[in-house]
Symmetry: C2
Subunit: 362 residues, 2 copies
């Protein structure tokens, strides 16, 4: 396998990954579109408070569920509310009649068509929850079931693997939680800055990322380590690697690693570490020492990437003014790595085999 340039690795079909890359690049613009709708989030947050619907039950599949992992921290750290990734099957398949008064049910679906997410929201509303949809399509079935619809503003996403949808979901959760905590304007300003930082970061990473990806051409498996707000990032990067590169990538918290999976590591089992400068950094650094001691090749990213001792590849990201927004930047190296690795392997990240954009599977 020879890779002559970042533009046309041998083995790639002409044009493979162009939509995926275009949508990675478009994320700062998508974020700015979302911020133009900040008032919608302000209004919804006021309604959550007025109804005292302060336990937030989030549902979604794939990238949407990954964004919900972020929501646990956004709502926990800003308005100090309990937020959880709720079980869809408990409500939809088992028909458990859980009392959801005092709850907001927040359904995340790009298309607004995912059948069991729609059915969950219908039942949650019946069970007493304030039913909110976060979707690209305000005319979707999901929006019709909801009492309030929040716009995702990601625009049409043509690559099957989500990028701008995911990052706008994360930003939307930060906005809603920020307004719920009475810190809306500060959050909007911090997100504006993230859009600028993101645009610069994508431009500089594009130059470099193929040379980082090529040595992983034969890796069949990988762990992606994050903790706290960055666990969502770990899940999302792992999903991109599974979807677009056919790498068995598993997301783990820093502590999960020590509780079993570290035993599987060796020099042929690389580890991607997201180290962010926040309260979880020490735990992540300790996990990276364990991984290195097991012989794993380490890729370090995040605002604290340079703190990871002995990393083989370091992909730092700039620090946002609000540390809770770091995941919007730290996901970018992972998305670009997946794009570059897929092309290195001769795969088309725009249309992974066996996937379709709107998943009707239950």
């Amino acid at each position: 396998m020879t890779v002559s340039s970042a533009e046309a690795p041998a083995g790639s079909a002409a044009g493979a990954g162009t939509r995926f890359l275009a949508e990675i690049r478009e994320q700062p613009a998508a974020l700015r579109r979302l911020l133009e709708r900040a008032e919608d989030f302000e209004r919804a947050a006021a309604e959550l408070r007025a109804r005292r619907a302060t336990t937030v039950r989030m549902v979604g599949h794939g990238s949407s569920d990954n964004a919900a992992s972020y929501g646990v921290y956004a709502f926990g750290l800003l308005p100090r509310w309990t937020a959880l990734r709720d079980s869809i099957s408990l409500t939809v398949y088992y028909g458990a009649d859980v009392d959801m008064s005092g709850c907001t049910a927040l359904a995340l679906s790009q298309s607004g068509q995912t059948p069991d997410v729609v059915e969950y929201l219908r039942r949650a509303r019946r069970a007493g929850a304030f039913a909110v949809a976060l979707t690209n399509d305000p005319s979707s079935e999901l929006a019709a079931v909801a009492e309030a619809v929040l716009p995702l503003c990601a625009g049409a996403e043509e690559a099957v693997a989500a990028t701008k949808t995911y990052s706008n979901q994360v930003a939307a959760l930060a906005l809603l939680a920020g307004f719920a905590a009475g810190q809306g304007p500060r959050m909007v300003a911090a997100l504006q800055e993230v859009a600028e930082q993101g645009a610069d970061l994508v431009a500089s990473l594009e130059e470099r990322i193929t040379s980082v990806a090529v040595p992983f051409a034969y890796a069949g498996r990988m762990f992606v380590i994050g903790r706290g707000v960055e666990f969502a990032t770990a899940r999302e990067i792992a999903l991109k690697l599974l979807e677009t590169c056919r790498v068995a990538a598993e997301p783990l918290t820093a502590t999960d690693l020590a509780h079993g999976p570290v035993a599987a590591l060796d020099s042929l089992f690389p580890v991607w570490v997201i180290a962010s400068e926040d309260e979880t950094l020490q735990a992540v650094l300790e996990a990276s020492v364990r991984a290195r001691e097991a012989g794993a090749t380490l890729v370090a990213s995040g605002t604290g990437a340079e703190r990871v001792q002995g990393a083989d590849y370091v992909l730092p990201v700039p620090a946002p003014t609000h540390p809770l927004l770091a995941p919007l930047l730290s996901v970018l190296p992972g998305q670009l790595f997946a794009w570059a690795l897929a092309r290195t392997k001769g795969l088309d990240p725009d249309e992974p085999r066996g996937l379709s954009k709107i998943t009707l599977a239950r």
Copy 2:
């Protein structure tokens, strides 16, 4: 690699896996010990109800966290309470001051020594939660922090990879949820029967399991699919494969598979499907069709294993009288498969490299 018999595969150290196997076999006896303490669970359930501490926040790492996945369904389906796997880092590292009144904080730790689980319980109690510990060691630091201590009764577990600890945690959650729902005696009787069914199942599987495991000697990765109550089983089987066999095994819900990971499958990427005869069966069967269409080798287990079309290996388990208890039986083929596969690969499942029984990592 030649495997001459289930007793002594070539490449295994003498005695490798004897403790792991002994503890797999011991599970029915451990379950009976737990049932002798049913009154403790009855008393605790009464206290949860009396305090209206009906949102159950569960924490634990590794197998304990897997058992907590089961708790989401046990509490949701029996007393119809909201139960969640809470974020430890939100409370312990970020110091988020979430109001936990109306909550039970239920900490799961075999040793009662896991530092961040102990710290979580201390803070949850301060935040207004009713603090309950489920542990093997009533003299542990965790027990000292708790307001109520529930006995796990698993006895000393000598293999590093948990088996009887996990299954007694699952049974303990079923007991607590059963008593909370006013169905305690029925649950105790159903668990008694599961102990008998489990003993028979282990005996019959031991004969057969090595011949199933040998063809997977060179598999580096695997998906383990479950949904609903069996998602806990999928997580636990995947963890056993990671810990003892160095297989990159990832647990997925039936729906997760369709939302991305199916793209990674091929004929060298086996899939273990847990198909149980309950409301989630159709979703699991549809996922297994997708996996088979992608060329994956399929291992089917669970009470509905025989319903999985085209499975390469079928490991059925008997149906318990209470369908919610199926996970106590469906985990057994996975544990025994991990034992057999580790020995086939010349690994010692009693002492996986890099792991210790009590994990102090944060």
